[in-house]
C-alpha cells in the first residue's frame, strides 16, 4: 500500500483547480454516458440484482465511515452537517428506517432473498471497502474529507442519480415499478440529496483554507474516485465472476480489528 505522502500530488492547490478535478462528483454528465451505467436499462433482472446487491455493502460501510470522519474533523459547519447526515443514515432513532435497512427493503422488493444478503460481497469489493476504511483512519482530516466527504456525499450521490435514471428505463423494472419499495431512492436520488451535495461542497470549501489542505483534499478525492469506480466495475462484473469463482463465504476480517457483523 502506498504511503500518504506518495499519494499527495502537487498540482492542485486552489479550490478552483480542485472543483475542476472533482467535476465527476458535481454533475451526472460523465456517469450518464458510462456504458456500464447505461447497461442497466437493458440488463436482465438477474444482472440488476447482482449489481445492486454489491452496492448494499457500500451503504452498510458508509455509516461507520461517516462516524470516523466526524471523529477526525475539527469543530466546523461540515462536522455538524455530517452529524445530521449520520442521524439520517441511522434512521433518526428507528432501526427499520436506517438507510441500510431501506436499501435491503428495496432489494427484497426486487426479489433478492435476504438469505444471500450476508454472503453477497465480491471479495475484490470487500478489499476496496476495507482499504477505504484503513485510509480513512490513517489520513489527515482533509484527506478524509476528500475520501469520504466528497467521495461519498457528492460522488456517490450523482452516480446514484445516473444509476436510478437508467434503472427506471429497464423494462423489467417498469413492469414491477409500483411494487418496488423505492424509499431508499426517494432519499438518495431526490432533490434533498442533491441539496445535501451542494451544502457539503459549500462546507468543504470553508475548511480548505491553505494550499496544503487543498492538496490533501485532492489526494483523498482522487483515491475515492478510483476506488469508487473500481467498486462499481466489480459490481457490474460480479454476476459473471460469481459463476466462475464464487463470492466471499468466509467472514471478512476488518482492518480496524473490530468484530465484523452486519450492522457495521
Amino acid at each position: 500500500m502506498q504511503t500518504m505522502e506518495s499519494r499527495v500530488q502537487g498540482e492542485v492547490s486552489t479550490m478552483q483547480e480542485f472543483w475542476k478535478l472533482a467535476r465527476g462528483a458535481m454533475s451526472t454528465a460523465q456517469h450518464m454516458i458510462d456504458r456500464n451505467v447505461q447497461s442497466l436499462q437493458h440488463a436482465s433482472m438477474e444482472q440488476v440484482r447482482s449489481v445492486l446487491l454489491q452496492y448494499r455493502w457500500f451503504t452498510h460501510y458508509y455509516s461507520g465511515d461517516l462516524a470516523i470522519l466526524i471523529y477526525k474533523l475539527p469543530p466546523s459547519s461540515l462536522r455538524s452537517f455530517l452529524a445530521e447526515c449520520l442521524l439520517e443514515e441511522q434512521g433518526m432513532g428507528k432501526p427499520s428506517e436506517t438507510h441500510p435497512a431501506l436499501y435491503d427493503a428495496f432489494l427484497a422488493s426486487l426479489g433478492v432473498s435476504s438469505d444471500v444478503f450476508e454472503t453477497s460481497l465480491d471479495p475484490d469489493n470487500a478489499a476496496i471497502l476495507e482499504e477505504m476504511r484503513s485510509l480513512l483512519l490513517a489520513g489527515d482530516y482533509m484527506y478524509a474529507v476528500g475520501l469520504r466527504g466528497m467521495g461519498a456525499e457528492c460522488l456517490c450521490q450523482v452516480y446514484l442519480e445516473s444509476v436510478h435514471h437508467y434503472l427506471l428505463k429497464n423494462p423489467e423494472i417498469i413492469a414491477r415499478r409500483s411494487d418496488i419499495n423505492w424509499t431508499f431512492w426517494d432519499i438518495h436520488a431526490s432533490e434533498a440529496d442533491q441539496m445535501h451535495g451542494e451544502k457539503s461542497r459549500e462546507f468543504i470549501e470553508r475548511l480548505a483554507t491553505t494550499p496544503e489542505k487543498i492538496r490533501s483534499l485532492a489526494a483523498g478525492y482522487r483515491d475515492a474516485e478510483q476506488m469508487f469506480l473500481r467498486f462499481w466495475k466489480n459490481a457490474y462484473a460480479a454476476l459473471e465472476k460469481s459463476k466462475t469463482r464464487g463470492l466471499a463465504k468466509a467472514p471478512i476480517i476488518p482492518v480496524d480489528g473490530w468484530r465484523y457483523d452486519a450492522a457495521r
Binding site: S27, T28, A29, E161, H164, L167, L168, K169, R177, S178, D179, I180, W182, W185, D186, A189, S190, E191, A192, D193, Q194, M195
Partner: protein
C-alpha cells in the same frame, strides 16, 4: 367559502368557476376529492383553490400566463387547475410518465412561469430531474414541490405549504378583480394543455371543459380517475364532471390487477371510472367482471385523436 346568492360573479356566472362556487356553497361538508392519504371537503378544496390563486398572483403569474403541472393524479393538480382558472392563467398538464428530456421539450414549446411537481411517485423523482435539467440546459422557471415527506416540507425551499402561505399577502378583492378582469370569461380561451407522448399538446378551452363535463352532471357521481390528467378526457370529464355535479372524485391509484380493481369499484361504489384502454380491456376479461361492475361505467380516457373527433 363562496356565497352563492349575493356574489355577483357566483349567482349569474355561467363560467366554470362560477358553477363550481355554487356547488361548493350548496354542499361544503361533502367530500369533493378522496385520495390515498385522505380527503378534501368541498369547502376545504375551495379554500385551497382561492389561496393557490392568490399565491399564483403573488408569484407574478399574469393574465394569459401558463403554469405547468407534472405529477401523477393528486389533489394539488386540480387545485392548481382551478386556481389558474380563477386568475385567468392556463395549466400545462404533463404526462407523469414523460422522461426529463421529453418534459423539457414541452416546457420549451410552452414556456411556463411556474411549474408544480410531485416529490416522487413509484421511484420517479420529479424535482431532482428538473434540478439536473436546470444545471445542464438552463431553466429559469419557479418550481413548487408537493407531496414531500413531512420532515422536508417546511425545510427545503419551494414547498407546497410555503407556496400556499404566500397567497395570504394577496387580498380577496385583488383576486376578485383578477377574476373579473376583461369582463366575463371568454369561453374560447385555452385554459389547459394536455401534453403526452403523442403529437402536439391538446388545447382545452373553457367551453370544451364545460361541454365535456355536462353529460356527467346528470347525477352526483362517484368518479375514479385512473388515467392521468394529461389525458384531456380525464381532466374534462372525470375531474370537472364529478365536481360540477357535486359528486366525489377519487384519485386512489393503488391496485395490483383486474380483480383488485373490481374489488375497489365495488367497495367505493364508483359510478364511473376513467381509465386507459389497456386497463379497461384487462378488467373486461376478468371473471365475473360484468356482475362486479354493476352499474359502473368504464370510460376510456381515449386517444388525442378521439378527443379531437369528439370536440
Amino acid at each position: 367559502m363562496p356565497r352563492a346568492d349575493a356574489d355577483c360573479i357566483g349567482a349569474a356566472d355561467a363560467s366554470l368557476m362560477g358553477r363550481l362556487r355554487r356547488v361548493v356553497a350548496a354542499r361544503p361538508e361533502q367530500t369533493a376529492i378522496s385520495y390515498a392519504d385522505g380527503a378534501l371537503t368541498y369547502a376545504a378544496f375551495w379554500d385551497q383553490v382561492e389561496l393557490a390563486a392568490k399565491a399564483l398572483i403573488a408569484s407574478g403569474v399574469l393574465v394569459g400566463d401558463r403554469v405547468a403541472s407534472w405529477s401523477p393524479n393528486r389533489p394539488e393538480c386540480i387545485v392548481i387547475q382551478c386556481a389558474a382558472l380563477l386568475c385567468r392563467a392556463s395549466v400545462v398538464h404533463l404526462d407523469p410518465e414523460l422522461d426529463g428530456a421529453e418534459a423539457m421539450g414541452v416546457l420549451e414549446q410552452l414556456p411556463c412561469r411556474h411549474v408544480f411537481v410531485r416529490a416522487n411517485h413509484d421511484g420517479k423523482q420529479y424535482p431532482a430531474i428538473l434540478r439536473a435539467l436546470r444545471r445542464e440546459r438552463g431553466f429559469a422557471c419557479e418550481v413548487t414541490v408537493h407531496g414531500r415527506p413531512e420532515r422536508f416540507e417546511r425545510v427545503l425551499p419551494g414547498g407546497w405549504l410555503d407556496f400556499l402561505d404566500s397567497g395570504r399577502a394577496v387580498t380577496s378583492a385583488a383576486l376578485a378583480g383578477r377574476e373579473s378582469a376583461n369582463g366575463s370569461e371568454d369561453a374560447s380561451r385555452v385554459v389547459a394543455f394536455c401534453a403526452g407522448r403523442e403529437g402536439a399538446p391538446v388545447k382545452l378551452s373553457a367551453a370544451a371543459l364545460s361541454g365535456e363535463a355536462r353529460p356527467f352532471e346528470a347525477e352526483a357521481a362517484m368518479s375514479w380517475a385512473v388515467a392521468a390528467f394529461s389525458e384531456p378526457t380525464v381532466l374534462a370529464t372525470s375531474c370537472f364532471g364529478a365536481l360540477l355535479a357535486g359528486g366525489e372524485l377519487s384519485l386512489t391509484d393503488a391496485f395490483t390487477d383486474a380483480e383488485d380493481f373490481l374489488r375497489l369499484v365495488r367497495t367505493h361504489r364508483f359510478s364511473q371510472v376513467f381509465a386507459p384502454r389497456t386497463r379497461i380491456e384487462a378488467v373486461s376479461q376478468a371473471p365475473n367482471s360484468a356482475e362486479l361492475l354493476g352499474n359502473c361505467r368504464l370510460i376510456e380516457s381515449g386517444s388525442k385523436a378521439a378527443w379531437a373527433a369528439r370536440t
